[in-house]
Amino acid sequence: MTTIFLFALLVSALSAASAASNYHESLNLQPFPPSSLLASFNFKSNTTQTSFEKQHFQYFPRALGQILQHANTRELHLRFTTGRWDSESWGSRPWDGAKEGGTGVELWAWIDAQDDETAFAKWITLTQSLSGLFCASLNFIDSTRTTRPVASFEPAGDHIGSENLHLLHGTLPGEVVCTENLTPFLKLLPCKGKAGVASLLDGHKLFDAAWQSMSIDVRPVCAGTDCLVQIDQTVDIVLDIDRSKRSRANPIPRPVPGDKLDCDTSKPYHARDTCYPQENPGEKAWSITELFGRSISGSCPLADSQGSDGTVCLRIAPEREVRPSPESVETRSSDEFTRCFTPPPSTAFDLAVSEHKIQSTVPLDEPVLYAERTIVGHGQERGGMRIIFDNPSSSKAVDFIYFETLPWFLRPYIHTLQATITGLDGVRRQVRTSEIIKETFYRPGIDRERGTQLELGLSVPPGSRVTLNYDFEKAILRYTEYPPDANRGFNVAPAVIKVSSPEAGRPIYLRTTSLLLPLPTPDFSMPYNVIILTSTVIALTFGSIFNLLVRRFVTAEEASALRAQTLKGRLGGKIVALRDKVRGKSSKVE
C-alpha cells in the first residue's frame, strides 16, 4: 500500500517536473504500533541538461554538480544508513528499499569513460571529492572495496547517447553516520533546512532514531530529446515515539512514579505496590513538536506545490483524531488512511495526533522476502556464512538476485556452498544448489587487491525457507594492515537483494545486516612493550660495551701501518706508486 502511495506521489511529482527546473518537497508520516513512527522526507529538484552543462545552477546544488561533471558521472546513488529495518514490526521498506543502503555508506555510480582504467580513475576522483563534500570516509573506497555488479543494479535514468557507461559500486560498512554527514546534506537543499519540512531535520532527533537512512540520487530524465538532471534527496527515519517524547531536560528513562504506572487492574493481586503492566497499551498521542522538538517553519518559498495533494501526509487509522495548526489545508486521499496537509506559507505548522486504543490498524505491507545473513562457526581460522531466505507468500515463488561483496581477508570456499530447503511441512532437506540457484556470477578476490564478488540468481519456492551455507577461511593480516583503532573485528558489507517483481515494474531491494568478522589479532601492546624495553636495554648497555670490546684502539701511525698490510692498502700503494711512475715519466718527457 505504502508502495503504491509513494509511487503515485513520485509519478505525480515526475509529471509535474518534466516541464522545467523546479523543486518539490514532501514529508510522509506513518505510525507503527506500538510506538514507532516512520518519517519519510523527500526533496526533489530538477534542472535542464543544457543549463546543467553550462553550469547554470538554480535548484541543483552547485557543489555536487561540479563534482559530477568533473568525474564524468552520469548517474549517482549515495546512501548513508544506520540501524536495521525491523520488517516484522514495520512491514515492507519505504520506497521498496530503492532509497536505502546497507549499514554505513554505500555508493554506486554510472561513469562515462572509454575503458575500465579511466572509469576507475574517475571513480576515485568521485569518491575523493564526495568524501570532502559529505565529511565521510568515502576516500577509503579503494580497489578492494570496489566492485562492478553485473545484474544487481540497473540505471534509473534515461541515458541517451552514452555508450560507454561503467557501473561501479563501493561500500563502507563500518562508517558511523552522524551529524557531520547531515549538515552537508542539508546544505544541498535550496532552503538549506531553514524552511519547509527540512526544518524538522535536527541532528539530535534524527540520530536518536531506531533506523535512519539518507539518500541522494542524481539521474538524467528525458522526455524525447529534452533532458533534465534530477536530484532526489530523501531522509527516512523510524523514531521511537516514547523515547523522542522525553524532554531534553530529563532524557534518562528513570522508573516512573508508582502511581503513574499503566497497570492491569483486573489482576487479583493488583495492589499499590504490585503491578502487572498492561499488555496492550495502545498507541500514544504525539505531535510533531513533541517528536522533533520543533515545528515546521512554514513552507519553502522555492517549492512548487502544484499538482500534489499537500506537503505533509499522514497515513493513519481513519477514526484517529488529528489536529493540525489552523490555516493549513487538509485533503483526504481516496484510500481511507491517507490525509495530507499543506502548511501555511509563513507561519509555523504543527500536527497533533490523539492517542489510540487499538481497534483498527493501518495494514502493513508484507515484505516479499525475509533475508538474514549471519556468520556461524567459531575459532580464529575458519568460519561459515549462513544466509536464510524466507518466502512468506504461499502461492508465488520469489526470483531475485543476491549480491554480496566480501573483503579479501575473508576467503570463501564456493565449492562448499550448500542449500537446504524447509518446506511448508517444516522438514529440512538438502537440495542440489542448482535447484535453487539459477545463475551465478563469481569473481574471486585477490589478496590486497580486490574483494570477492558473488552474484547469485535465486528462486525460492512459495512458503518455504531456503538456507545457503558456505565455509570460509580467515586470512592473517600483516600487522600494519590492522586499523589503529580498538580492534572490535572487521565489518563485512551487507548483502544486497534485488527482487524483480514484474507487476510493479521497478525492482524491490532488500539489504541484510552487516557482519562482524573477528580475525586473529595479536595483542599489540605486549610485543611493543617487550620490544621497546629490550631494545633500550640492549642499545644502552650491550651496544656500547660490545662496541668497546670489538673496536681496536690504535694510534694514527699504527693505523696507517696496519692499512698498508691489507689488500686494499697494498693495491692503493701500488696505484700511487704507478701514478708517481707515470707522472715522473711524463714529466721527464716534457
Binding site: R84, D208, A210, R254, G258, Y269, E279, N280, H378
Partner: protein, 895 residues
C-alpha cells in the same frame, strides 16, 4: 635398589665446577652457608629476619649494634640472595686464598662490615635525614671490587679509549652506577660507601686492622688448625702455597686431579667419599634420577602451597579500561519493583495450577508458563523465539524448550550482543523464580534505554545444564541433529551473565561462579568487574568457591584455591555460564546466598551495572588473564606463577624416562667389576698409576653400546594406550543403572590385568633392558601428556601427576633379591598400586565427598555427551595405561 646395569659415559664433565666448589676455602664456605641459612629462615612468617638484622638507620642503638655485623649476610629474597652469592663467592674466595682464613675472618666479621655501615649510617641519617634499610652481601662484593681495582690500578693504571684515559680504579664506580640503574631497589649510597672502604683497604690504610702475622701463626700452630679444619687456608702461604698444599710432581694431573685442601690423614675418609661421588656414574645414572624426580615432586607440591602467600599471589585489577565498572548510576529501582512483584505473582499463580492437590507445587516449567513468559517479553517489545532440544545420555533423555528474546540495539547493526541467562532451575535443581522474574523485569526496563551499543539477548532455558548448551551450540550452528536451529539471531556474543536467585527471602551476598567446562575460565576482567560493581558500588559482599567465611588467612586462601582446582580438574559445568566458555565467550553466574538485607532490586542494579560495563566494551575481552587461580575475591595467581608446580611434577616423569633410556643404551658389564670399582672410567691419557686403571679399562671394554630392543616395549605401551579407549567407550555409553557394577568389575579387572601382563612378560623372558624401556616409554608419554595438559587444564594435570607419582619409583625387583623379601615387596607394591588405580580413586573420592558413584559417572557421561568434557579421556588414555604398565612391572618380579 636395582642391580647396576651397564652405564654410559658421562655426557658432560661436571668436575670443573665441582672441583671449584669443593675447593672453596673455609671462611667462604661459612659465609655462603650462613647466607643460605638466613634466606631459608626468612621463608617462615613468624620471625622476620630482615627486620631483625638489616641495617635500618633509625633502629640503630646500643643494643642493636649487632645489625652492623649481620646485615651483609641477610637478604630479602631468593634473587637477591642468588645474585649476591654469585658475586661475592669468587671475590671472597680470592681474598681468603691470599690472606688466609684467620685474617679473612678477622676483617670481614669486624671492620669490613662495620666501617661501610658506619659511613652509610652517618650519611643516611645525619646528612640525608632518611631511613632506608640496607642488607645483603653486595657490600662485600663492592668492597672487594674496590680493593681489587686499586691493585689493578697499580699494575695497569689506565684504560684508554681513543684519546681519553680512564683510570682503572673507577671501574667499581661504573659497576655501582650500572647496578643502581638496572637493578631495582638497590642502595646506591650503600654500594658507594663500600667501594670507598674498598679503596682504603686496597691503598693499605686499613692495614692496622689486620692482626699481626705472628699472633695468627701462633694461634694456628697451637690449635693445629691446619690439621683439624678442612679447607683451612693458612696464614703462611709461603710454606704451604695458595691452598695450603704444595703441588707435588706425582699428584694426578689433568683438570680433575686437583686434590682438596687438606693435610694429614684425618680427612682421608672424606676425601674418598667425595672422590667416589665425583667419579661415579652409578650415582649419576641410577641414584640421581630418583633423587631429582623426588625433588621435582616435592618442589611441585611445595610450590603449590606457597602460592597463597602474599609474595606469590597478586592483587586483582581491572585491565580493560573500557569496562569502567561502577562509573554509571544504576536506575533500576522504584516502581520497577512493583512490576517485579506483578510478574512474580503472575508466574506464581500459574505455578500453583498444577499438582497443587499433592500439597507441593509442581515446579517444572509447563507450556502455560512458557507462553506467559513469551507474552510478557513480547509485550515489552522484544523479539521472542523458542528452540526445542533433546539430549540422550546414559539412557536418560533430557528435553526442553529454550525461550529467548532479543533487545535490538537502537541504531545497532546486529554485530555484537550480550547474553543474560536466567534458567528456570538453578544448577542445584532449585526453582529460580526470582531470577527469571528479575530477567523479565530487566528486559522491560532495558528496552527503554537507547544507549545500548550491543543487542541484549535474554535466554530463559528450562534448566541450567542442557538449555544454555543447546542454545549456544545452535547459535554457532554447531548443534547436534536433536537440537533445533535458532530462528532468530544477533551478532557476535561479547559476554554473558547468569542470574540465580532461588529463594524468596532477602540475600546477604553474591556467590560468583566462574568455572567452565574442561577447566576453561572466563577472562579475569569480567570477574573483577562483578566484584568491583557488587562490592564497590552496591555494597554487596562477594564470595567464591562456596567459601562463605573468608578472613583472608593463609588457610582460607589455600582452601579456596584447592576448591577451585578440584572443580577445574574435574572439568564439569558449574552453572549455566559454563557452556559459553568453549566458544570464547566470557560468562559468570551470580548466585544469591545467605539471609541478609539485599533485595532483588540490588541484584538487578548489579546486573544493570555489569551490563552497562559490558556494553562499553570496544573490543572482545582480551586484556586480562584467562589462566588464573583465585584465592580470594581480590587475590589471584597467574599462570606464570603457578604453572611450574604442575610442570615440575610432569617433569619428574620425563627425567626418569630419559635416565632409563640412557641406561638401556649400553650392554651389561659384569656386575662384580662395577661393584668393585665404583669408579668412573678415566680417559686413557690420564697418568693413572693406581690399580684402578686395570679395572676401569676392563669396564670400558664391557661397556659397549647396545642395541635397544624396542619392538615389545613400543607395542606394549602403544597397545595399552589404545586399550584405554575400551573402558572410555563403555563408561560413556552404559545405561545409568549399571554404573556401580561396572566400577566394581573394573576394579577387579584392574587388579588382574597387570598380573596377567606380568605373567606374559616373564614367560617371554623379558630382559632388564626391555623392562627399563617399557617403563621409560610409558613415563615419557605420561610426562609429555601431563606437561601439555598443564597449560590447558593445570589442575587436572597436577592431580593426575600426583596420583601417578609412585609410578616413577616402582620397578621390577631384581631377581637376585632374596625370594621372601622379593615376594613381600612386590605384593605390597601391587596392593599399594591398586589403591591408586583409577576406579579405586573414584570410589574413595565418592566416599569422601559423600556422593554415589552412579551420580558421578552419570554426570561424567552427561558431560561427555552434552558438554564435550574430556576428563575421561585423560583418565582412561593417559593415566590408566601408565598405571597398568607400573603394575605389570611390579608384577613381573613375582614370576
Amino acid at each position: 635398589m636395582v642391580s647396576p646395569a651397564a652405564l654410559p659415559p658421562l655426557p658432560f664433565n661436571p668436575s670443573r665446577v665441582r672441583s671449584y666448589l669443593l675447593r672453596l676455602p673455609l671462611f667462604t664456605r661459612l659465609v655462603v652457608l650462613v647466607i643460605i641459612l638466613f634466606w631459608l629462615l626468612e621463608l617462615q612468617t613468624v620471625w622476620s629476619v630482615v627486620q631483625w638484622g638489616s641495617l635500618i638507620p633509625d633502629e640503630i642503638g646500643l643494643s642493636t649494634m649487632y645489625r652492623l655485623n649481620t646485615y651483609p649476610v641477610i637478604h630479602t629474597g631468593f634473587f637477591h640472595t642468588f645474585i649476591n652469592l654469585l658475586a661475592v663467592t669468587p671475590l671472597l674466595e680470592r681474598f681468603e686464598a691470599e690472606h688466609g682464613t684467620l685474617t679473612a675472618i678477622a676483617l670481614f666479621i669486624g671492620p669490613l662490615s662495620t666501617l661501610p655501615a658506619g659511613i652509610y649510617l652517618v650519611i643516611e641519617k645525619f646528612i640525608l635525614h632518611s631511613n632506608t634499610a640496607v642488607a645483603g652481601a653486595s657490600v662485600w662484593a663492592f668492597l672487594l671490587l674496590g680493593s681489587e681495582s686499586i691493585r689493578t690500578f697499580k699494575s695497569n693504571p689506565y684504560f684508554s679509549l681513543g684519546n681519553y684515559k680512564i683510570p682503572t680504579w673507577t671501574s667499581p664506580l661504573f659497576a655501582c652506577v650500572l647496578v643502581w640503574i638496572l637493578v631495582p631497589n638497590t642502595s646506591f649510597l650503600g654500594h658507594l660507601c663500600s667501594v670507598l672502604i674498598g679503596y682504603l683497604l686496597g691503598l693499605g690504610y686499613l692495614k692496622f686492622f689486620v692482626p699481626p702475622e705472628k699472633i695468627l701463626r701462633w694461634i694456628e700452630g697451637k690449635l693445629n688448625l691446619l690439621g683439624r679444619l678442612p679447607h683451612y687456608v693458612s696464614v703462611d702461604q709461603k710454606t704451604y702455597g695458595r691452598y695450603g698444599v704444595l703441588p707435588t710432581a706425582g699428584a694426578p694431573g689433568g683438570e680433575r686431579g686437583t686434590p682438596m685442601s687438606f693435610l694429614g690423614g684425618s680427612s682421608m675418609a672424606l676425601k674418598s667419599s667425595i672422590r667416589k661421588l665425583r667419579n661415579n656414574p652409578q650415582f649419576l645414572f641410577i641414584r640421581l634420577p630418583y633423587i631429582l624426580s623426588f625433588l621435582c615432586i616435592v618442589a611441585g607440591v611445595v610450590w603449590l602451597f606457597l602460592l597463597p602467600l602474599d609474595d606469590y599471589s597478586r592483587k586483582n585489577y581491572i585491565s580493560e579500561n573500557a569496562l569502567l565498572p561502577g562509573q554509571v548510576h544504576a536506575y533500576f529501582s522504584g516502581s520497577e519493583q512493583h512490576i517485579f512483584r506483578g510478574y512474580k505473582k503472575e508466574l506464581e499463580g500459574l505455578l500453583g495450577n498444577e499438582g497443587s492437590e499433592e500439597g507441593q507445587k509442581n515446579e517444572e516449567r509447563t507450556p502455560v508458563i512458557s507462553d506467559k513468559i513469551q507474552s510478557i517479553l513480547r509485550a515489552a517489545g522484544l523479539k521472542v523465539a523458542t528452540q526445542e532440544y533433546e539430549y540422550t545420555s546414559s539412557g536418560i533423555s533430557h528435553r526442553g524448550e529454550n525461550i529467548y528474546a532479543i533487545i535490538q540495539a537502537p541504531r545497532g547493526d546486529a554485530t555484537e550482543a550480550i547474553v543474560l541467562v536466567a534458567a528456570w532451575k538453578t544448577v542445584n535443581g532449585e526453582l529460580n523464580l526470582n531470577g527469571v522474574t528479575l530477567a523479565l523485569t530487566l528486559a522491560r526496563y532495558f528496552k527503554r534505554w537507547s544507549l545500548w551499543s550491543k543487542d541484549i539477548i535474554f535466554v530463559l532455558p528450562p534448566d541450567s545444564k542442557t538449555g544454555t548448551q543447546a542454545w549456544i551450540d545452535a547459535y554457532h550452528d554447531m548443534q547436534p541433529s536433536t537440537v533445533q536451529p535458532l530462528p532468530l539471531k544477533s551478532g557476535a556474543l561479547q559476554g554473558g551473565l547468569v542470574i540465580e536467585y532461588p529463594f524468596n527471602h532477602r540475600f546477604e551476598n553474591l556467590h560468583i561462579v566462574y568455572d567452565g567446562v574442561n577447566g576453561q575460565l572466563p577472562n579475569l576482567d569480567i570477574f573483577n568487574t562483578a566484584v568491583s560493581i557488587a562490592g564497590g558500588q552496591m555494597g554487596i559482599g562477594t564470595r567464591l568457591q562456596e567459601m562463605w567465611e573468608h578472613n583472608g588467612s593463609y588457610e582460607k586462601r589455600l582452601q579456596t584455591m584447592l576448591r577451585g582446582m578440584v572443580k577445574q580438574g574435574f572439568g564439569y559445568a558449574t552453572g549455566a555460564h559454563s557452556s559459553f566458555m568453549p566458544y570464547h565467550i566470557d560468562a559468570i553466574t551470580l548466585q544469591t546466598h545467605g539471609n541478609g538485607w539485599q533485595d532483588e532490586m540490588a541484584l538487578g542494579r548489579t546486573v544493570e551495572g555489569l551490563t552497562r560495563s559490558l556494553n562499553n566494551l570496544l573490543e572482545h575481552l582480551h586484556q586480562s588473564f584467562f589462566f588464573y587461580l583465585l584465592m580470594q575475591t581480590h587475590r589471584f595467581v597467574s599462570i606464570g606463577t603457578y604453572l611450574p608446580s604442575a610442570m615440575l611434577i610432569a617433569g619428574n616423569f620425563t627425567i626418569m624416562a630419559i635416565a632409563l633410556w640412557l641406561r638401556t643404551g649400553y650392554s651389561q658389564g659384569s656386575p662384580n667389576v662395577i661393584a668393585a670399582t665404583n669408579d668412573e672410567k678415566t680417559s686413557e691419557k690420564s697418568p693413572l698409576t693406581s690399580p684402578d686403571k686395570a679395572d676401569s679399562v676392563e669396564q670400558e671394554t664391557t661397556n659397549k653400546a647396545a642395541e635397544r630392543q624396542l619392538a615389545l616395549p613400543l607395542s606394549l605401551v602403544v597397545g595399552l594406550h589404545l586399550l584405554g579407549l575400551i573402558p572410555l567407550y563403555i563408561f560413556n555409553n552404559l545405561s545409568h543403572g549399571n554404573y556401580t557394577l561396572a566400577t566394581l568389575i573394573s576394579i577387579v579387572t584392574n587388579a588382574l590385568l597387570p598380573l596377567l601382563l606380568a605373567a606374559l612378560l616373564s614367560r617371554n623372558s623379558t630382559t632388564t633392558q626391555q623392562t627399563h624401556l617399557i617403563k621409560s616409554l610409558s613415563l615419557l608419554l605420561l610426562g609429555l601428556f601431563l606437561s601439555t595438559l598443564a597449560t590447558l587444564n593445570f589442575s587436572l594435570s597436577f592431580m593426575i601427576g600426583l596420583l601417578c607419582a609412585p609410578l616413577s619409583f616402582v620397578h621390577r625387583i631384581s631377581a637376585e633379591t632374596a625370594p621372601v623379601l622379593r615376594y613381600t615387596l612386590s605384593i605390597a607394591g601391587l596392593v599399594f598400586l591398586n589403591i591408586l588405580s583409577p576406579p579405586v580413586v573414584l570410589l574413595a573420592g565418592c566416599a569422601y565427598f559423600g556422593v554415589s558413584v552412579e551420580t558421578v559417572l552419570m554426570e561424567a557421561a552427561f558431560g561427555w555427551d552434552v558438554w564435550g568434557m574430556w576428563t575421561q579421556v585423560v583418565v582412561w588414555c593417559v593415566w590408566w595405561p601408565t598405571w597398568v604398565v607400573g603394575g605389570a612391572l611390579v608384577g613381573v618380579s613375582l614370576f
